[in-house]
Point group: C2
Chain length 340, copies 2
């Protein structure tokens, strides 16, 4: 049987002017059965997330590229890791990442627990030889033991638990109570007229074919089953201008040509705070990003008014960021563990 | 008149087994008359201090090298700035920096307000062309205006006020209530027997000749008048091993040979949390640092017991770090200001 072309599927969806199923963001993120979120794990996870000493140079923490003081990313096209090295994909926001059923742009990790281990040993990110070497550093800081004990019990200082703690912290990084959330919960004054027009245009144009659900990242899938879309689907002048088709996307993971240029559908929440845009961070303007998505995914040329309305609606998806108290990172008492 | 050799002066001081004038750390840091500390300035200053977008790459903030989640520095010998570049001196701790009468190792800035402008335009630190260019970035982020208005009044978005705000925040970064502070305030149980022995040895060895006062950084001086010491004063095997005399120190600022190898006397507060040690960060062990100081400044060989006692006493200088809520950095709404 011949594979149905993804472009055709997306095209078909876009024909249907569906009444969208508008959902508010839950107040609590789901957690896997083997890692229920506890205050003790969150406390430890926050420390590990913020601690730069588990990068080879001691300069890069999770928060360096996924800055929770900002939109959960780093304002850069490609993040900068140890020794000023840069990667090849834009850092996705950590905010609401708990609502993705797979992690990374190409969905190569099912859970936040799996994702957390990736950057540590990536030579252009945190640059450690491997996660075990990073874990040796954690173990060499005496103060961490008590936090592992409280979160996971005795003799629990290992990579899996460190990743579980980071994931537990990340599951608290959600942003409910946006203007949109209030609106769909019944407060019809929460969005202004332009935002409501944008919301309707967002649905009638077909954006909701992919960007549906509470996090605007597609239908709820089983963990590990990603909701992917081919980007770009339609060829046009934007594709070469912004090199949109140069990244093979999920094909890099599966080796299947059918997965070429496929990427996990990203959340749109807080998108006003996460420029630049797309997997290659090539577009530094939200209006341009909206025009490109309409043209490349739905083969539509939006009017300037429609673009403005949709951008106004996207602004209504910026939620309440919770207050975070800075952790106090345990000291190594009289010596440094950084030698690079 | 022949200049009196600094080594002789330090040597003479060390002969006097003075009864030290033990002082607790004040609960509030002094502020200059033209920049009284206010909650509004502290709030703005904390944001600017934490915001990496005022470095060329968007990756380096004040907090990158002076991390308030740690000992106020970065665990590195030499800090790593934009593009992985490194400087030539160890990052001094920001904690209690308000108690220094001059800033930087060589005292080239009198006030924290002056210091704050330095790293922004340093090519191996934040790498901006100049502070005005950095200020253009601040101005391009709409959300900052309201914070400047509140802190300094209308039309106040300029470099001087940005520096004043950062300095105001830094003046809140003080760590009172160490075991030592409690002890000198009358709680004789606050330090253990080893720490008390170390305290006495610290004084009788002559460490207090330089490391006196509430912050253990020398006598209180007029702002702009630094309290400097030649390091190393005595030559010995440590000097070549750790390249201690390679840095001309304050001579780089004044051009005077008499200032060769002179450095501002550093605070010893929280020193357990600020390894590695010295202006070149060459010594990664507090016991070794104590041995070196005794030998190079006081021409003494301390016994292992004395070294252990003094290190225990230095541990009693680690105070209470205040809780800091992470600031929410205003977004640029739909575009990034980072292009590097």
């Amino acid at each position: 049987m011949k594979l149905i072309n993804t472009a055709m599927i997306v095209g078909l969806f876009s024909m249907q002017a569906q009444a969208a199923d508008w959902q508010a963001l839950p107040d609590v993120a789901p957690a896997p059965a083997d890692n229920p979120t506890t205050a003790e794990k969150v406390e430890l996870g926050k420390m590990l997330y913020m601690d730069p000493r588990f990068s080879s140079t001691g300069t890069v923490s999770c928060n360096s590229c996924h800055n929770v003081m900002e939109g959960g990313d780093d304002s850069r096209s490609f993040s900068m890791g140890v020794h000023g090295k840069t990667g090849g994909r834009n850092a996705p926001t950590v905010w609401n990442s708990a609502f993705h059923s797979v992690q990374f742009w190409d969905g190569r990790a099912p859970l936040l627990e799996d994702q957390a281990k990736g950057p540590v040993a990536n030579p252009v990110e945190m640059g450690m030889r491997d996660v075990e070497t990073a874990m040796q550093r954690v173990k060499s800081i005496p103060g961490y033991k008590a936090y592992f004990d409280r979160a996971f019990g005795p003799d629990s200082m290992n990579v899996d638990n460190a990743a579980k703690a980071v994931a537990a912290f990340e599951r608290t990084l959600i942003t409910p109570n946006s203007a949109y959330d209030k609106y769909v919960k019944g407060d019809k004054t929460a969005m202004n007229a332009q935002q409501i027009r944008g919301m309707n245009k967002f649905a009638s144009s077909g954006c909701t074919s992919c960007h549906s659900g509470a996090a605007f990242n597609g239908p709820q899938m089983k963990v590990g089953d990603g909701f992917y879309a081919k980007f770009p689907t339609f060829n046009n002048a934007y594709v070469s201008k912004y090199k949109l088709a140069d990244d093979k996307g999920r094909e890099e993971v599966t080796g299947k040509e059918a997965d070429r240029n496929k990427f996990r559908v990203q959340t749109l929440r807080n998108i006003t705070d996460t420029a630049p845009y797309f997997h290659n961070g090539s577009v530094n303007d939200l209006e341009e990003a909206v025009r490109i998505m309409a043209k490349s995914q739905l083969n539509q040329d939006l009017s300037a008014k429609d673009v403005g309305d949709i951008v106004a609606f996207l602004g209504a998806l910026t939620g309440e960021y919770p207050e975070i108290v800075m952790p106090r990172l345990p000291a190594t008492s009289g010596s440094s563990i950084i030698a690079d």
